[in-house]
Symmetry: C2
Subunit: 169 residues, 2 copies
Amino acid sequence: MIIMGIDTAIRCTGYGVIDVQSVNKMSILDCGVIKNTQSMPHSECLRRLSCGIRQLAETFKPDVVSIEDAFSGRNVKTAMILSLARGAAIAALAEKHIPVYAYSPKTAKKAAVGFGGASKEQVASMAAALFNINITDIPLDSTDALALAICHANAASRPELSFLLPKPV
Amino acid sequence: MIIMGIDTAIRCTGYGVIDVQSVNKMSILDCGVIKNTQSMPHSECLRRLSCGIRQLAETFKPDVVSIEDAFSGRNVKTAMILSLARGAAIAALAEKHIPVYAYSPKTAKKAAVGFGGASKEQVASMAAALFNINITDIPLDSTDALALAICHANAASRPELSFLLPKPV
């Protein structure tokens, strides 16, 4: 099962793609960020995000995508801008009929690293060990996306974590 | 100039397409709604919305799109769901490089009907008179979209209303 984790945001969207062969065997296919400059209008950010996610989906053909859920513990304006990015991303994936599951950042990090408050650096060092790659190959802004992918891998394949599995978005 | 007004929402998105020949001469090309049932998951609603808007853009080739702005006078959850729909719509239009302008519903109705608090029925009857069509041909859920299109037509072509013209989204 190929899982792509996406940590959407209007200016910097992290992604991480993993290949889950079995409960205890997973490898990393790619991780990185889709960056938009501060000066870009929202429409251009959404266009780049939408195209970028479509390209990733075509390249890696994920069976499923794991994204951050729409938690509302932010101010309304921030939540609305984040939702613009989520809407563009979910639409691009839905057009390819790829199911999308959403987890809170805390759930994702707890399921991936064992600690919901883990820092980006802690997730990066756990991911480097898990996938046996160099920590410098993991952009810090892709660590939340990797945690989301690992979280879904665990929720979907480990019976003791199946209670975490949400309904698709 | 072809202007498409879009009143986005996750369950029912209204649209109205007008052809502006000159300051005092405009005709209607189409109006209607993209409906999603209550039981559809968000991803399916966004897929249908995104595809629907792309099809409308391909059919009518609008020079510009006028949408409702992201006003925050709603609760956070409603605002976030509305923003999902806006994100999917703006991304679909941005991929076709169609500029998008946003107006508040009040500004749109004031510029179109002369009264910011106009009801859907009032907008429909004004639009029926303006375009010389039967009021029963205007779905009530498309009236806000028509007001958005007329508002942009006025802001873009009437010097005395040019102060309304916002920056593209």
